[in-house]
């Protein structure tokens, strides 16, 4: 028994667990110190959590695109962040046009509907074109080939947008209706954050119903389960893949609009870091798992907004906010090492698809 255990526990595993323990101790120590020092009033923590939920729901929407594509094709659609960025750009252009004519403030609901519609359409189109032009011919190629293609497509899209629309950071207009705060359960929430959270929840529910209840959604699940069997059952696999890209793209487009509403700036690299973080969220929740993407997104959003002050601040690291991106990536690495299955989900990272 002990011998078998000894054979399974190699030096690497022990080293990994020691690293894990050190990190865990650091996290707990940091959190306790910064809470005990009472450097920030409780209100700050609440605000940070609300902000974390808002950005987390954006991550969740993007993560769904990664997760659904991974579930169906077993490939990381590296260019998905750029699909999201396209949504943010289109949203910006429509919003600016509406803002200039004064329509945005007069007919807020109609304007937002137009913005979302435009952004989602364009993003979905780009996602479908990507699949058609760049990924479909490579479906049976060695695994690295489509990944490299996706990386290429990602840079191509980024710099195409830069060429088209310039490299400056564009300020997303703010509607009158979104200024100020509302109070829910005694907590003051910025109206933009409330809009983001509500919109994300509506879309997540809609997607959940689509995937679970409709015939197309079930067909998509079947294809992600087993492509060959699904096609024997009379499901058009190519069509399901296109629909997956379409839905994922539309959600990313919506996420683009929400992201720019939240941060109020858009530029050609907008998609890169959120794209990586959304991928992290997808892995965190368990890639290939739709509910997991939502959980992972929220977890990452909250962790990212809370941890720099809570943990790094407590450890006495100056300017902890600079390290929030590094923290997100560190989380990704740690999850892949210690729990490759994610919070919910099957083990895929070491399994051959």
């Amino acid at each position: 028994m002990i011998q078998r255990l000894r054979r399974r526990v190699t030096g690497t595993t022990v080293a990994m667990w020691i690293i894990g323990l050190v990190i865990l101790t650091g996290v707990i120590y940091g959190a306790v110190t910064s809470l005990a020092s009472a450097q920030y009033p409780p209100k700050v923590w609440v605000d940070l959590i609300v902000f974390g939920i808002a950005q987390g729901s954006v991550y969740a929407l993007i993560a769904l695109g990664y997760t659904m594509v991974y579930g169906i094709l077993r490939m990381i659609n590296f260019a998905h962040g750029e699909v999201f960025m396209a949504g943010a750009f289109i949203g910006y252009f429509i919003a600016t046009a509406l803002d200039k004519s004064g329509f945005l403030d007069q007919n807020f609901i109609v304007s937002e509907a137009l913005i979302f519609l435009g952004a989602m359409t364009v993003s979905a189109t780009i996602a479908v074109l990507l699949e058609r032009i760049a990924y479909r011919p490579l479906r049976r190629a060695p695994r690295l080939v489509p990944l490299i293609t996706a990386i290429g497509a990602s840079f191509f899209l980024q710099y195409t947008f830069r060429g088209f629309f310039g490299s400056g950071i564009k300020a997303y207009p703010e509607a009158e209706q979104l200024k100020g705060t509302i109070t829910i359960l005694g907590i003051n929430i910025l109206k933009t954050q409330a809009l983001v959270i509500v919109a994300a929840i509506v879309m997540l529910i809609a997607l959940y119903i689509f995937v679970q209840r409709t015939k197309t959604g079930r067909a998509m699940q079947a294809v992600s389960e087993d492509k060959d069997a699904a096609s024997l059952m009379g499901i058009d696999v190519d069509r399901m893949i296109v629909i997956t890209f379409l839905v994922g793209g539309a959600l990313a487009g919506a996420a683009g609009v929400l992201f720019s509403t939240l941060f109020r700036q858009v530029f050609f690299l907008t998609g890169f870091i959120p794209g990586l973080k959304a991928f992290t969220a997808a892995v965190l929740g368990g890639i290939g798992n739709v509910a997991g993407a939502m959980v992972g997104g929220l977890f990452l959003g909250i962790a990212e907004s809370l941890f720099p002050n809570l943990v790094l601040g407590g450890l006495g690291i100056p300017a902890p906010y600079q390290l929030k991106d590094a923290l997100a990536f560190l989380l990704l690495v740690l999850v892949l090492i210690f729990r490759p299955t994610g919070i919910l989900g099957e083990r895929l990272s070491t399994k051959k698809a």
Binding site: R140, I148, S154, F164, A319
Partner: protein
């Protein structure tokens, strides 16, 4: 592949024979509008290819016509024993005309709907370029005629016999290339019309004569006894070596470009081991580059006081390589248990973490934060009246490249190299054959990291100052593009890839903004059309064709 050809031949039915050139024309029009609005044409409009006659922007526009006119002719002749001459010409002309119609529509409509408020490049300069400076009605007519004529001419090019077609094509391509080299390195302006004509004629004639001569030469050499053959090959290598040694003498500016290319070759050789030999897609390669550069910086710069050590560059070099290798092992252990695409993302994450840590205020007292480290000594100081710093550095880089080529070649044909290839092809089978996966992968990762750190050390000496911003993800992507374009696993491919992807853009400074756009497009294109690269490695080509074979079944 098979499916696309089938659908093409279906379109070529006589009933709708017009649809093929029209489709090509629509594609051409889309590409032309894309290039116009993305700004490439205007960015290159100030670079004269033939002074006073044509700019590089216009040459690229003509290139679009040539490409699609040629393509239309190709499709018109598809599936027929003898190309129908008239129909090919008509197809080419039609495709060119449709492309022009798109551009005309753009020029006419854009000002009406104030396109410039969205697309920043929809500017008067663009209209000027597209109408050849002749203004709206006249220029548009010229544009249509140019489309028609160039389309038909390129279709005509397709109809020429092989040998002449290749020679003329090379001759035409030689004009912008010679002009760019000339204006970037020496004269600062384009060729004169006579110069262009001479270039064209000389290049065409050389190409024409060289084509049969090449096979004769290789035949004659092949007929020699083995010993003499070896002498010929050695002589060729020596000639090449002397040529390379003389290159930096062109001047300090060409030497600087060569240095940049050289650093990329060195990094490419290292990444080639990781990605090309062992099949591990490492997107965090820049991390080791940064670690190498920072190690040298910390050990040599008089600015860094906390360590109390101020070595020379040469003394610091082994430490840089050592630290880089160690970092490769330490980062490698956790990530190498993952497969393909996860590995890519995790290494990317590591690369960003390293950069963000170098950038943060947290380690500022030790690593300089956003101010970086300055006053790093050069490898060899330039002496008064001798070669410049950049010229000397080239020889240092060259030495590094030679070592890297030697190591990479030896490793490739060693037991370890064969293990790498086995792991690349199928991990499970490799493991079943008794290969220790983690050790094998770790060896690749660490060797790659060592080369990356070496390049980082040289980079630090080249610039004498380093900032965290120099070490972003784009460096990893550039190196990846270099080795993919050259051919994964192929050592000469790395050099070709670096010359094409790093050397050319360095010559064309105004093109810098579009470098990554082109890299992205090139990556996609290469993966779709020529995954084995420009200078393919024999073994890998075989693997990829095996894949295609199974696809065709």
């Amino acid at each position: 592949m098979a499916a696309t050809t089938a659908s093409l031949s279906m379109n070529a039915k006589p009933a709708n024979r017009w649809s093929s050139p029209i489709k090509v024309g629509l594609l051409g029009g889309t590409v032309a509008i894309y290039l116009s609005l993305v700004g490439i044409l205007t960015a290159l409009a100030n670079r004269a290819v033939i002074t006073g006659v044509i700019s590089l922007g216009q040459v690229i526009l003509l290139g679009v016509y040539v490409m699609f006119g040629y393509m239309a002719a190709q499709r018109a002749a598809a599936g027929q024993d003898k190309a129908p001459v008239a129909w090919c010409l008509v197809s080419g002309a039609l495709a060119g005309l449709i492309t022009s119609v798109f551009l005309v529509a753009l020029v006419v409509i854009a000002p009406l709907i104030n396109l410039r408020s969205i697309f920043i490049n929809a500017s008067p300069e663009l209209w000027d370029l597209l109408t050849f400076g002749l203004g709206v009605p006249a220029g548009l007519l010229v544009l249509l005629v140019v489309g028609l004529v160039v389309g038909a001419l390129s279709a005509g090019l397709f109809l020429l016999p092989n040998r002449i077609r290749r020679s003329v094509g090379l001759g035409l391509a030689a004009i912008p290339i010679v002009s760019i080299l000339n204006s970037s390195l020496f004269a600062g302006r384009g060729l004169s019309p006579i110069g262009a004509l001479v270039t064209f004629v000389v290049a065409t004639v050389i190409a024409y004569l060289w084509q049969p001569a090449r096979s004769v030469v290789s035949q004659r050499v092949g007929a020699l006894p083995t010993k003499q053959q070896r002498v010929v090959v050695t002589a060729a290598y020596i000639a090449l070596g002397v040529f390379v040694l003389l290159l930096p003498l062109l001047g300090p500016y060409p030497a600087e470009i060569l240095d940049t290319v050289g650093i990329y070759v060195l990094m490419g050789l290292g990444l080639n081991i990781v990605v090309g030999f062992a099949g591990l897609l490492d997107l965090g390669y820049v991390a080791f580059f940064a670690i190498g550069a920072y190690t040298v910086g910390v050990l040599t710069s008089p600015e860094i006081q906390w360590l109390g050590v101020h070595l020379t560059w040469w003394e610091a070099l082994p430490f840089a390589v050592l630290v880089g290798t160690l970092a490769g092992v330490i980062l490698g252990i956790p990530v190498l248990q993952m497969r393909g695409d996860y590995l890519a993302i995790v290494t990317l994450g590591f690369g960003e973490i390293i950069r963000l840590i170098f950038l943060s205020d947290w380690l500022k007292p030790w690593l300089g934060g956003s101010n970086g480290i300055t006053r790093i000594p050069r490898a060899i100081k330039a002496t008064e009246g001798g070669l410049s710093d950049q010229q000397i550095l080239f020889y240092v880089i060259l030495a590094g490249i030679l070592i890297a080529i030697f190591v990479a070649t030896r490793l490739k044909y060693s037991r370890l190299g064969r293990n790498w290839m086995a792991v690349r092809e199928d991990e499970d089978v490799a493991q079943a054959m008794g290969i220790d996966l983690v050790k094998t992968k770790l060896a690749a990762f660490a060797t790659g990291a060592a080369f990356s750190a070496l390049s980082g050390a040289i980079f630090a000496s080249k610039l004498t100052s380093i900032y965290p911003h120099s070490f972003n993800l784009l460096v990893s992507i550039n190196v990846l593009a270099v080795i993919i374009v050259g051919g994964l696993g192929s050592i000469p491919g790395v050099i070709v890839g670096a010359l094409v992807l790093v050397g050319l853009p360095e010559l064309l400074r105004e093109f810098a903004e579009y470098r990554l756009l082109v890299y992205g497009a090139v990556l996609v294109f290469m993966m779709l059309k020529r995954p084995e690269g420009l200078v393919p490695e024999a073994r890998r080509k075989l693997e990829l064709h095996e894949e295609q074979g199974s696809l065709a079944e």
